[in-house]
């Protein structure tokens, strides 16, 4: 229980820190009013807006007001779209979630078996081949692999739609592009975790009571190796949401990533701010969730709680 409490406290500190950082970044340019006015506004309009938005108050007062608004879940009004920011962003979240889910599926589906195989067949040609594959995945710029896939599967073979969000098929290429880097870190992490477990005495003991090597891995090694892998799985969800900024732009996928870039172009900075806050909150909650998941997998912790 005390462990859980300190985790919660850490998460709260991180949330507070993120809010603070974002607040000050928004004011880095000197006058945040300029970020929010539509192009072509006159000096009087700007001054009026500055007053309405309270940017003429002292910084600390603004900071307090900002925290209060967020505490009331009031994310502000978009001056470009004349609608509440929360609604604009919320509309796009399901698309990004679908994309991140697809990417996670790709990353887990390929990364875990690859990492496991690299550990079990250590020192063989299979390990070397997979290591090359993993390294390539880690070094691939997502926008390049995205474009190549569009060119090959979309244009040349004509198997998959090159952009848009009409059906499940259009989710395939963005998911693969987004999932590649995450797949690599899963594979690396799984390999290390499984290697660690394979050297333990209970593996030899399992074989000594007549289990095959495969059975020892299935029944004992995998569950033990899952513990460290779960943490990074949770952290990777945050990275996937961030990576969506690029992948969604390449594939014209209407999620929050594309929205962020569009909003920068249309100078709708409250939307960008909200997206950054949202992704960071997801990241922090996933972190917390990973800590809780430990308890489910590991009976040693379950009992402490």
């Amino acid at each position: 229980m005390p462990e859980l409490k300190s985790r919660l406290l850490q998460a709260l500190i991180a949330i507070f820190g993120v809010l603070t950082i974002v607040f000050f970044i928004m004011r880095l340019s000197g006058d945040p009013t300029l970020l929010l006015v539509p192009d072509g506004a006159t000096a009087e309009q700007i001054a009026a807006l500055r007053h309405v938005l309270g940017f003429d108050r002292p910084l600390l007062v603004q900071y307090g007001a900002y925290l209060l608004d967020l505490a009331r879940l009031d994310l502000g009004q978009s001056l470009v779209q004349h609608a509440p920011v929360a609604g604009i962003v919320a509309e796009r979240i399901p698309y990004t979630m679908a994309l991140a889910g697809g990417a996670l599926l790709v990353a887990l589906g390929v990364g875990l078996p690859a990492g496991l195989a690299m550990a079990v067949w250590r020192g063989t040609w299979l390990e070397r081949a997979l290591a090359g594959f993993v390294l390539a995945g880690q070094s691939l710029p997502t926008f390049w692999s995205g474009l190549l896939m569009i060119l090959f599967f979309g244009v040349y073979l004509g198997w998959l739609p090159t952009s848009g969000s009409d059906d499940l098929a259009s989710l395939v290429m963005p998911s693969v592009a987004l999932g590649a880097i995450t797949m690599s870190s899963f594979a690396r992490m799984t390999r290390i975790a499984v290697l660690d477990e394979l050297s333990r005495d209970y593996v030899a003991a399992g074989r000594a009571r007549g289990l095959s090597y495969g059975a020892v891995i299935l029944r004992h090694v995998l569950r033990n190796a899952a513990i460290p892998v779960v943490t990074i799985a949770a952290l990777e969800v945050g990275n996937l949401l961030a990576g969506a900024v690029i992948v969604e732009t390449v594939f014209a996928w209407p999620g929050i990533g594309q929205l962020a870039i569009q909003s920068i172009a249309s100078r709708d900075f409250l939307v960008v701010q909200t997206i950054v806050l949202f992704v960071s909150m997801v990241y922090i909650s996933m972190n917390l969730l990973a800590d809780l998941a430990y308890g489910v997998i590991d009976p040693r912790i379950r009992r402490d709680r």
């Binding site: 850490q10 500190i13 991180a14 949330i15 820190g17 993120v18 950082i21 974002v22 970044i25 928004m26 880095l28 340019s29 970020l35 390294l135 390539a136 880690q138 070094s139 691939l140 710029p141 997502t142 926008f143 390049w144 474009l147 190549l148 569009i150 060119l151 244009v155 390999r191 290390i192 290697l195 945050g238 990275n239 949401l241 961030a242 990576g243 900024v245 690029i246 732009t249 390449v250 962020a260 870039i261 920068i264 172009a265 900075f269 960008v272 701010q273 997206i275 950054v276 992704v279 960071s280 990241y283 922090i284 972190n287």
Partner: protein, 276 residues
Amino acid sequence: MRRISLGTALIFAGLLAFIVAAIGADVFASNDPLRQSLLLRLRPPGTATATAYFPLGTDDLGRDLLARILYGARASLMVAALSVSVSLLVGVTLGLMAGWFGGWVSIVAMRAVDTMLSIPAILLAVLTVAVLGPGFFNLVLVLGLTRWPRYTRVAYAQTLQVAALPYVRAAEMAGCGPGRILLRHVLPNIAGPLMVVATSEFGLMILFEASLSFLGLGIQPPYPSWGSIMSAGRQYVVRAWWLTAFPGACLFGVVLCVNLFGDWLRDRVDPRSQGR
């Protein structure tokens, strides 16, 4: 003396090629990367005219792709090197101080690290560049000032260990000030692990620069960057594959070499991690 394998030699060759191309861009490029020629738009690789030769073809404004890729390498190298230097400086200073002074200094520093790591790097960079406006200088500043936490973590952990070593304690007794001890005794001891982190960050920075430029938030036109070349080439991906293929392959190759170099370096710095 360790023998260097063929694979390692290839990694070094790849990195060397990147650095030489970046530094000597003006020597190797036979055409001006900014010079447009609307009559020579989207010409395929190997196009030759009476006065010029375009080994990798031309872009949508008729500029020489090879020249743009060479100058793009320069942008990439400069952004990555400078921003790694900035974040190294910030991160290591913070980590050394946190490890040496402990107490509330370390608490504040490590909470700040956690917080920075809670905002996915690319989003943080996108937001900041968008607020400050794009451009070379802002790009370096933003990447440098957002990517320091990993150095702080490593420097902090290593400083804690090194500070407990007898000879460091002895130097402290002999009256050396903290600045001197940190610089003369602690820093050399933690240089290895820091180099490993810096290498992997270097690869990431190259990717970030390209990504931000691809999104239009990095190097601004008409100046070339691998990311912005591909961003322009995106519309012509069917008609002019070379605009996407060549800069992307360069980017992939360089990042691959940097990552391989990082693995190699880590095995040397920490032999226990061999093959991990």
